[in-house]
Symmetry: C2
């Protein structure tokens, strides 16, 4: 087996031992707190890791796109929640095919989308499970109040081919009490109206270890935890040492004493920023700062580095936002103790719809 340092660059390296440790730590918290874990696979997009998550105790997985769900179903996953308002006949037809073969659930935050589900799914003996998405403060999708949640839940429950399963939210960061209040109010209101939610599903990696403090929540959908990244570490979830995915790059230029350029840019690292300075963290040169990412160049300031890399040297970069990276590479290298154990295709890469 080749060493990771033999791999041509840029390339993705994934440390299998760190992946296992990250999965087990998060599953352990869920188990200890009576939470169901339903990991979001947008971060890795790999059949292998989705199956590993289930093997370690997850009840199923979460996807954002029908295409991701189709890929994961083909890879053996039997229980998938698509946390997205699905609009249009093309997607509903694909959803109907999935509904025939696996256990699938979806969400909605409005009657237009719910009516679309109701029109497509009309079999009372095989109802589509639908959760109501709630905006508990993040300001993205979701009904705005528990009263709106009740109204939409009632609408869903009245449709012969739909089953009202519960509530789903992608919560704001660091506002646990607010989310807790919102969901508890909604749970009570729904229960009083004979629509007690079977599932209340929350998400996100940054506040994962506060999940048990949001008492109404029954299920959690973290995604990034499997690899961790610079953004998560800057939020206080995990450390840089927990980061399982790095992008291997080659130093191709040293134009000045304090400047290096590597062969990885926004088309391999993504261009999301985070609270830490620069566009990624160099494992071998922790004091270096990636000041700029062009599409295929990363420009690095070495001013703070005592040792400086030579042209031709390979370096590993922890990305700011790892979920973008999985979507930029056709394949990834799985590493165990510095050896490349396998190079595998990113199964659900590019599943835009």
């Amino acid at each position: 087996m080749p060493n990771w340092s033999d791999v041509d660059t840029p390339a993705v390296l994934i440390d299998l031992e760190k992946v296992s440790a990250n999965l087990l730590r998060v599953q352990g918290y869920a188990d200890a707190n009576g939470l169901t874990l339903r990991p979001h696979i947008k971060t890795h997009k790999l059949h292998r890791f989705a199956n590993l998550q289930v093997e370690f105790g997850a009840c199923g997985i979460t996807c954002q796109k029908v295409g991701e769900a189709e890929s994961m179903a083909a890879g053996g996953i039997q229980d998938i929640l698509i946390t997205y308002n699905l609009v249009g006949e093309a997607k509903l037809e694909r959803l109907a095919k999935l509904h025939e073969s696996i256990r699938v659930s979806v969400v909605t935050d409005n009657e237009t989308v719910a009516q679309g589900y109701a029109n497509k799914f009309q079999n009372p003996k095989h109802r589509l499970r639908v959760l109501v998405e709630c905006d508990t403060g993040a300001g993205r999708c979701g009904v705005q109040t528990p009263e709106e949640a009740l109204k939409l839940a009632r609408f869903i429950a009245e449709q012969p081919g739909l089953h009202f399963l519960g509530l789903m939210t992608y919560p704001p960061r660091n506002r646990v009490a607010e989310v807790d209040q919102w969901l508890e109010d909604a749970r009570k209101l729904l229960t009083e109206n004979h629509l007690a939610p079977e599932v209340i599903s929350s998400g996100g990696t940054p506040n994962y270890y506060q999940a048990a403090e949001v008492k109404a929540v029954t299920e959690h959908r973290p995604g990034t935890y499997i690899y961790c990244d610079r953004m998560m570490a800057s939020y206080g979830f995990g450390t840089l040492d927990d980061c399982a995915l790095t992008v291997l790059a080659t130093v191709v230029s040293r134009p000045t004493e304090n400047r290096a350029v590597v062969d990885t840019g926004s088309k391999s690292l993504g261009s999301d920023r985070c609270d830490a300075p620069g566009m990624g963290h160099l494992v071998e040169y922790p004091d270096a700062i990636i000041t700029t990412l062009n599409e295929e160049h990363g420009t690095i300031d070495l001013s703070a580095c005592v040792n400086k890399p030579a042209i031709g040297e390979k370096v590993r970069i922890i990305p700011n936002h790892v979920c973008l990276v999985s979507n930029l590479f056709d394949q990834v290298n799985l590493i165990r103790q510095d050896q490349v154990e396998a190079t595998v295709p990113v199964n659900a890469r590019g599943m835009v719809s």
Copy 2:
């Protein structure tokens, strides 16, 4: 033929008439000013448009990655400049194969990389063309002074299997006089030393129409001009109406009076910012602002809009940086007068190395 509004979302739409107009306008300026045009295909990554650029008068194309060049050679392109320091046996072996079948040129800004070329290419009857990359102020790759350029050119010229072709730069924006001085000084110094550059190649779309003011330049390598984008328009190159590529998205949620969410995020639009506010421009709602892109959600502020989109409505988004978008979609839709003329694979998508 379907109308573009029938295409499932998110999807890329490319207006063929705008593409032709953009190509002809830029080719016309090159022709009128005695410049050779060598477009960078990183923006479109399509065989079809590379061939169209050559048909319209380009001398060949520019690529950043060996994989892009391999794809374009397979698509019929005969003359390719790879504007990148190529490091390592894997890439040099692939370069050698290309060198056997088409006219290929490369660059270097250091002796380590030049020595790699010299070791791999040793046939004096079929020498590899090499340009010296010059940092004329952009602060990325490139030798720092004309004297360094001379030293490296001399090194290249001394290698039996290499041919010193000239100079290459990716110039800084809005510093024409500075770039002009740098390249003219280098040209003179090289000429005095019997190493007169045959080619002096500059690049970039933003300052393209000042290319003729940099008198030493013989060749230009614009990329983004084929589609234009919000960043180029904000730089004063082209207008939003020139933008040929849009991302078709569906409004999936209207949680509040002034908020809409579309089914396109950083995994379909990229997350580069530009001088204009927000993360993209909505053609149908020009006063809307895309405030946030998550991976699969675009959150839109409609406060300034008189008319507001309904759930299920499709909207077209001009991306901030169009080059990232071509790399995120497996296929694109070519549109003529609102009809989808063809849906084609993005040939060189994901060519990371």
